[in-house]
Symmetry: C2
Subunit: 217 residues, 2 copies
């Protein structure tokens, strides 16, 4: 199974690391980390990660196309014709087209979600319609060969669920134990409908500072 993971400046690191860590427990998974240029790519956590391939050297026909999300840098990718053309091309041949968080908006801008249901970050669901996609509020949304996860930490649920979809429930159960995924969120505020009004207002301010304009392909 060859996974083409597209990476870019300012991306939310955990969006990708959740599923990549889950899939690292599956024998035979190979991952290419593909950027616009080969070399270090600075993520939103300050950590730089290495792109080993660029748009011209990446696999032409990966089994899996994956992209994670970001705040403002999502808008940059949506407006980058070289990137959306690349994703459209690889997505047209990939067996599975996948994302976590606002990565689904970038897949949408590449024309890959028309007529599909898709998940995204909790504040970004309304942006899916312009790409012809139907919003899902699930943490994991599988619609035919489109597999999309919700915001940031959803990538862990997504990674495990997708592994089970590919390789069977025993694989999913094993990965969940290997990752010690028996979560205990300290506050129980991880969704807008769960959070108190004050926390939600603070989060909306942060989100709007990042996502002040609508995505424009």
């Amino acid at each position: 199974m060859r996974v083409l993971a597209f990476i870019y400046e300012g991306m939310t690191l955990l969006d990708m690391v959740g599923p990549i860590q889950a899939w690292s427990f599956m024998p035979g998974m190979e991952v290419q980390f593909v950027g616009k240029k080969v070399g270090p790519v600075k993520t939103d956590c300050g950590l730089s990660i290495m792109a080993t391939h660029d748009l011209s050297s990446a696999w032409s026909d990966p089994d899996v196309l994956f992209i994670g999300g970001a705040g403002k840098p999502t808008l940059g990718m949506i407006g980058d014709k070289a990137v959306t053309a690349f994703l459209r091309d690889r997505g047209s041949r990939a067996k599975w087209v996948t994302s976590v968080c606002t990565g689904s908006l970038i897949l949408g801008a590449a024309g890959l979600l028309e007529g599909y249901r898709a998940a995204t970050y909790w504040s970004a669901g309304d942006h899916l319609a312009q790409f012809g996609a139907t919003r899902s509020d699930d943490r994991v949304c599988i619609d035919r060969n489109r597999m999309t996860g919700g915001g940031i930490t959803s990538g862990i649920d997504f990674g495990i669920a997708v592994a089970a979809h590919w390789a069977g429930d025993q694989t999913g159960k094993l990965i969940e134990l290997m990752m010690e995924y028996a979560p205990q969120p300290p506050f129980g505020t991880g969704r807008p409908e769960l959070a108190d009004a004050g926390t939600l207002a603070l989060a909306r301010q942060l989100v709007e500072a990042e996502f002040s304009e609508s995505p424009k392909p």
Copy 2:
């Protein structure tokens, strides 16, 4: 708040990315990614991450010392006197000494957990005693200024809980929503006491292949 995150070849990437992503939502957090050498460090997911500092250029007195875990490479770090001497030195001045997963065994080998309670990966708890530490099976264990998380995904609970400890519950609640941490593990097998016997036997095989010898400082 200056966080010194120690990174090494073969480390479990999510152990570090969980807390680092959580803390990225706190204003004023600075992180140094410190390796034995400056440059790319290959993690267990195949992704290489960049060490920006080495043992001689890292902050002398960080506010926070952090180290994540690994499979076999944990044993390598435990046996590496340059690394344990470095951690002992920085840990002696850090306000907070922290780890996720088997990172606590490396802190232990550096002499930093003597007389403390500490968490670690589900299969590794018995190794804590030789370092004078008392095993905790919690996902987050805070004993005075020692803060340790359980296995891999525990780093998210740990990152949020520690942020709240430092900056108050409102900060923890906000981070939980920003990270959309309302987890739904697909199988509910994320701890030995939750998993069925078949899954646990498979996991023990994988773990024993990595951790066949006892940690020897």
